[in-house]
Assembly symmetry: C2
Homo-oligomer: 157 residues x 2
């Protein structure tokens, strides 16, 4: 490493250039911002990221194959196996081997799982939490719609 003397630019803002218009960059920062409170909420309940979402979707879609749930949530099979195992050990999820295809696993919530989801669902659907996050109601609605279109959720006609 060299040595040298410089003026001190410490107080000057950092320039990001065209990066400020890059979706990849902006989405990463946005996700970091959301993830913080998202993560804290889940950790407080003893859950790892993604676990509540899985419980939620299983609750809405009982008796569906594990792989179907994993696919729509973009969770890889190997990861899904461990995640479901944890939720099974927590007593929140039951697994059934259907007669018509004994390779597959169909998931449902136990009573405890359903109670858990019902009790904490409000914390996870954080509409309210983000009203104060730099967006007014109209912008928030736009934001959700644009995100849905972007990820191809709107065209499900």
């Amino acid at each position: 490493m060299n040595e040298s003397s410089h003026y001190d630019f410490t107080d000057m803002p950092i320039e990001l250039g065209e990066l400020t218009g890059s979706l990849g960059f902006l989405l990463r920062l946005a996700q970091v911002k959301v993830f913080q409170s998202f993560y804290d909420t889940q950790a407080a309940l003893g859950l790892k990221p993604g676990e509540f979402t899985v419980l939620w979707v299983i609750g809405l879609n009982p008796d569906r194959r594990q792989g179907e749930i994993a696919q729509i949530l973009n969770i890889k099979p190997a990861h899904m196996t461990k995640l479901v195992q944890r939720m099974f050990e927590a007593g929140f999820v039951s697994r059934e081997i259907p007669r018509e295809d004994r390779r597959s696993v169909r998931l449902s919530l136990t009573d405890a799982g359903r109670q858990f989801v019902d009790r904490h669902k409000a914390d996870f659907l954080e509409f309210h939490r983000f009203e104060r996050a730099g967006l007014d109601d109209r912008e928030f609605g736009q934001f959700v719609t644009l995100l849905q279109n972007f990820i191809g959720m709107g065209e499900a006609k």
Copy 2:
């Protein structure tokens, strides 16, 4: 695990309920979508995610402290150290210890680093790539603006 027989719901869509309006969920899926092509592009150049962004910002802000660059990109100090080390070993980044504060490190691009950034910057500023990603030009502009507001980038006045 139990055994049972069921109708086969495999072809029915999975219900997501109010999750479709959750920013955390939508941002995660959006990021997964962007990250795929983003990641592939970087990997093809032998870079890990985040490395090109760091080179880019160093190029725009020569002789700034390592910690300043890390902070604005939401990179933790420990991670930044390893990232900079890799870019130093690749010959893209130079490190200087300034006389006025010998604890700190000031980063700049080497000639090779600047050439590398110039040669590949177009691939990383993927405006074009996302024109066809379910959003028209107007929506894309809205999307960027909303993301900027959301992460608190717009208020920098």
